[in-house]
């Protein structure tokens, strides 16, 4: 265990969700689930976060925004797609304005399906993401320790 897995800060972005999953994400922060127990904080700023939690599918309007936010998260970072829309586009997949799941734009590490995804499964997904985060950190350090780590294209 490193510090990274004890203090994952998440950034939650609502791509084009119906708000169902968003409410469940916020439910994780309530006293009932209290994810701060695991050191998880909901930050409002990509530059401070480690885990990018996205709800809803990608459309024309937010495609660039998702990319931009992803680029502004410092390495190591993981992406968790929450809800079926974020994983594949869900029922909106065939919509004229929807491009599909988040993985059409940025590499996704953990998929949390569900409509809406339950808080338990969201927390589960984030805990799973921690493992991947740790792996990424190890890989970031390993290849050539002298050089600076390059961000973005590892996955």
């Amino acid at each position: 265990m490193t510090y990274l897995t004890r203090s994952p800060w998440i950034l939650h972005y609502d791509a084009s969700s119906c708000n169902g999953c968003d409410i469940e994400v916020l439910a994780c922060l309530t006293p009932l689930y209290d994810v701060e127990r695991f050191g998880i904080l909901n930050t409002g700023n990509p530059k401070h976060s480690d885990i990018f939690v996205v709800t809803g599918g990608v459309n024309e309007q937010n495609r660039e925004v998702i990319k931009n936010i992803y680029e502004q998260i410092p390495d190591p970072k993981v992406v968790v797609a929450v809800g079926i829309c974020a994983t594949s586009g869900g029922v909106f997949r065939e919509c004229y304005n929807i491009m599909g799941g988040i993985d059409r734009i940025i590499p996704v590490d953990v998929y949390v399906p569900g409509c809406a995804a339950r808080p338990e499964s969201i927390i589960d997904g984030i805990v799973k993401a921690l493992g991947i985060l740790e792996e990424k950190r190890a890989r970031m350090r390993q290849p050539d320790t002298g050089k600076k780590a390059t961000g973005g294209e590892t996955v």
Binding site: N45, P46, E64, V65, K67, N68, Q72, G151
Partner: protein, 634 residues
């Protein structure tokens, strides 16, 4: 004595020489050589007299005074002519009144007065002379390049550079005369000359605004001149032999005699130093070319106002009148600092900051304990250097970017890196530890606590000081922000301008390092001679300050250490993708620019509101002092 006379007469000769030179290159070399000579002269003066304490010289009284009287009458006629020509009848009335008082002094009261020692020098005069001789001449050299650019930029302004340099050098001579004169009559003469210089140089551009502001400055300074003349009349009526005309004798004569002239001179000083009811003239004076603002309206001429008050601080201390003068200074400090927050015009910010700091100096001198006088003299030194540097920086920036608005200085660190760093040094010198002004403010806080009614001033300093932090920091932040639209444009600044700016920047830092030396060789002996005791900072604090300064100087090198400086990404824009120049797609497909502007808090710190408060408050205090004074005279 020959040195003193040289420093007064030589600039006068150069001034008349410059009046007849119209060729640029020749003028350049004359000004530079003269600056070098005057600078060297004042340094020689320092070496010659720094350890001699107060030295009095018996200069011939009659012939000099008669020449001065003649010149004063000529000036009065000139001012009357200009007043009538521009229909400024208030100025005309004031000139007439002052001339009447002067005639009374010269023709009636002076008949059997024979002051002996008319020139003197002590450590305080030396400090003032150094400021005039070094900073003043540096500004003269700077103005060569500045005025050239000024006239190419403002083709509508008539090229009167001969008059400009004539006035500037006459001004230098007058300032030297002012600080070397032990005779109040002579001080008055030089005082009037500086008023005239200020009047003519403010009106240099000959625009409607410039003329109006010049007359505003003239009228307010004439009010002070009338008070000054009143002091002369009082002194001569008390002692017709004129012995009390000598400042040293007057100071030694004790409260009973010296208080009334001291208060009148204090009033004159308040007008000259542009404290609150009279602050508008200094703000208006910013229409003058920037070197003039730097020379007359921040580092030297306005300092003449505080010089005279600091001189008379031993008389004022512990009296209600002194307290009132101190309060006027204190309120001016507080309110002018607040007003500076609401200003975006860099020169106006500098003007208000100057007014504020002059207020602080007067507050120190008015309360006038020995510790406060020590702090006041430190303030005079630090302020003169840092403020002239800032004015010259703003002047240079203005000519490059075509604006004196702080908002337009965004990203200056990219556009003009060297100048930006100098500006930062100047600004830091105005309010940050461990630089100069802060040291003096600190000393002032410590000194005020022990003074009578000092708590009021401590509160004023606590609140006013934090206001100062606000307007300087936001200016600093604006300069240092990495505006993506900024491109380098520093070229084409003249070598001599760079030289002057480098020297002033170096001085700002150097003075922080060697101020304990200045304090121990000049300020402390002066305070000791006047009060019999003196103040100084504790050794521990000096060491810590030096360490902080050292740390500040080495910190920037941390940027040079190669290591992981981080990967560059764009700024966070709420996820909105932006182009490199920070344009982003807004709603409805409109492309929008990012513009960032500072806070100005106009509804809280608006100029109009606070100026009214300050004028009312300080005017009331002046009336109060007037009533007390009238009571004393009657």
């Amino acid at each position: 004595m020959i040195e003193l006379a040289f420093l007064i007469i030589f600039p006068t000769i150069v001034a008349f020489l410059l009046l007849f030179i119209s060729r640029g290159a020749f003028r350049d070399s004359v000004v530079k050589i003269a600056a070098l000579v005057i600078g060297a002269g004042s340094v020689y003066l320092l070496i010659r007299y720094y350890n001699q304490g107060l030295v009095l010289f018996s200069a011939p009284f009659e012939p000099a005074t008669e020449i001065m009287f003649g010149i004063e009458l000529i000036i009065a006629v000139l001012l009357l002519y200009l007043g009538i020509r521009y229909r400024k009848y208030l100025a005309v009335v004031l000139v007439l009144f002052q001339t009447a008082l002067l005639l009374l002094v010269e023709l009636v009261l002076l008949s059997d007065a024979h002051p002996e020692t008319n020139l003197f020098i002590d450590q305080f005069s030396l400090i003032m002379a150094m400021i005039i001789g070094i900073i003043g001449t540096l500004i003269c050299v700077y103005s060569l390049g500045y005025m050239e650019t000024y006239h190419t930029r403002h083709p509508e302004v008539k090229d009167r550079r001969r008059l400009y340099f004539f006035m500037v050098f006459v001004f230098l001579a007058a300032m030297f005369g002012l600080v070397f004169s032990n005779n109040l009559l002579w001080v008055f003469f030089f005082w009037e000359i500086t008023t005239l210089c200020s009047f003519i140089l403010i009106g240099y551009a000959e625009t409607h605004e410039a003329t109006n502001n010049a007359f505003l400055a003239l009228e307010m300074n004439l009010l002070g001149g009338i008070a000054f003349a009143g002091a002369l009349i009082y002194v001569l009526s008390v002692d017709p032999t004129g012995g009390l005309l000598e400042i040293e004798n007057l100071l030694a004569s004790g409260h009973a005699i010296a208080l009334i002239p001291a208060v009148l001179l204090g009033f004159a000083g308040i007008t000259k130093a542009a404290l609150m009811p009279f602050s508008s003239w200094l703000v208006g004076a910013m229409v003058a070319p920037t070197p003039v603002s730097a020379l007359l309206h921040s580092s030297t001429m306005v300092k003449a106002g505080v010089y005279i008050i600091v001189r008379f601080a031993p008389v004022l201390t512990g009296t209600p009148e002194g307290l009132i003068i101190g309060l006027i200074g204190g309120f001016t400090f507080l309110l002018a600092s607040a007003i500076a927050i609401s200003q975006s015009n860099a020169k106006k910010v500098l003007a208000y900051s100057t007014i504020a700091n002059l207020g602080l100096i007067v507050a120190c001198a008015g309360v006038g304990t020995y510790k406060l006088v020590w702090a006041a003299i430190l303030l005079i030194i630090f302020h003169a250097i840092a403020k002239s540097l800032l004015f010259l920086c703003v002047g240079t920036v203005e000519h490059r970017i075509g604006s004196r608005n702080i908002e337009d200085m965004s990203g200056l660190i990219i556009r003009m890196p060297k100048l930006a760093v100098m500006m930062i040094v100047g600004i830091a010198g105005m309010f940050l530890a461990p630089f100069g002004m802060l040291i003096s403010k600190w000393a002032a806080i410590e000194a005020f606590i022990e003074a009578q009614f000092g708590l009021i001033f401590v509160a004023i300093l606590a609140f006013g000081g934090s206001l100062t932090v606000f307007f300087w920091s936001k200016w600093m932040g604006k300069i240092l922000s990495f505006d993506p639209n900024a491109v380098g444009e520093e070229k084409s600044v003249k070598v001599e301008k760079w030289l002057v700016l480098y020297i002033l920047t170096g001085l700002t830092v150097l003075i922080c390092l060697i101020f304990p030396l200045i304090s121990s060789t000049l300020i402390e002996p002066f305070v000791l001679a006047v009060y019999g005791q003196t103040a100084r900072l504790s050794q521990d604090n000096l060491i810590i300050m030096a360490m902080m300064l050292f740390l500040l100087m080495i910190m920037p090198f941390s940027m040079l250490i190669s290591g992981n400086n981080g990967k560059k990404v764009s700024a966070y824009m709420g996820g909105r993708p932006t182009s490199p120049d920070l344009k982003f797609a807004g709603s409805m497909g409109i492309t929008r620019d990012v513009t960032l502007t500072n806070y100005y808090f106009n509804d809280m710190f608006g100029e109009k509101r606070l100026l009214m408060t300050g004028t009312a408050l300080c005017f009331g205090l002046i009336l109060l002092a007037g009533v007390i004074l009238a009571g004393m005279i009657l």
